[in-house]
């Protein structure tokens, strides 16, 4: 049973560029959440997708956007990269049986983004 997978593992970008990160949820899961973890900090919630729509959003600017596909996989896009966007980006998946949120989230290994 494959867990949550993310790609790429590492990424180096220049300020002002755009980046796309990808996530495939655990088998059977339909909800994907994205978190940003800066060095030495706890993860911060960016947003959550289910039924292909953004359902919850944390305190992140509009430069951060996402998408969920019919197969439940998801992308995180960041435009106009800033040095402060350098972080580990974590994807987590869960499922909503009968429209009730599962309380347990499974995390992927993350994508390490470095902005120079």
């Amino acid at each position: 049973d494959a867990g949550v997978t993310q790609s790429p593992t590492h990424l180096i970008k220049t300020r002002g560029q755009q980046v796309t990160l990808r996530c495939s949820p655990k088998s059977g899961h339909d909800t994907v959440s994205w978190y940003q973890q800066a060095l030495g900090q706890g993860p911060q919630f960016i947003f959550q997708y289910y039924e292909e729509e953004e359902r919850q959003r944390g305190n992140f600017p509009d430069r951060f956007s996402g998408h969920q596909f019919p197969n439940y996989s998801s992308e995180l896009n960041v435009n106009a990269l800033l040095l402060g966007d350098s972080a580990l980006y974590l994807c987590a998946s869960s499922f909503r049986p009968r429209q009730v949120f599962s309380y347990e989230q499974y995390f992927g290994p993350g994508t390490r983004l470095t902005v120079t």
Binding site: Q44, R55, P109
Partner: protein
Amino acid sequence: AQSVTQLDSQVPVFEEAPVELRCNYSSSVSVYLFWYVQYPNQGLQLLLKYLSGSTLVKGINGFEAEFNKSQTSFHLRKPSVHISDTAEYFCAVSRVTGGGNKLTFGTGTQLKVEL
């Protein structure tokens, strides 16, 4: 809104000694409580969770935590640590009701087990 405070940024301990990692939370609504572990260059792994019922929760790798509603705490304990327990530990909460199940994390506690 919810918030989580992990009082200790680093906890050094000798192998086979007991350890307690402290976590306090603040919330105006009922929450679920979690402890996650993060090994170097890896994602987060769920150690244990409190949803309801018994306030003493047992998790993987010999860890346990006790929910104390009056003190709004959820401290993590292990009676005898091993070198392999060296990692970053995060306490997190999520709302019991309301749309979504986003997690709010503390800043983490680095557990360093020494010989």
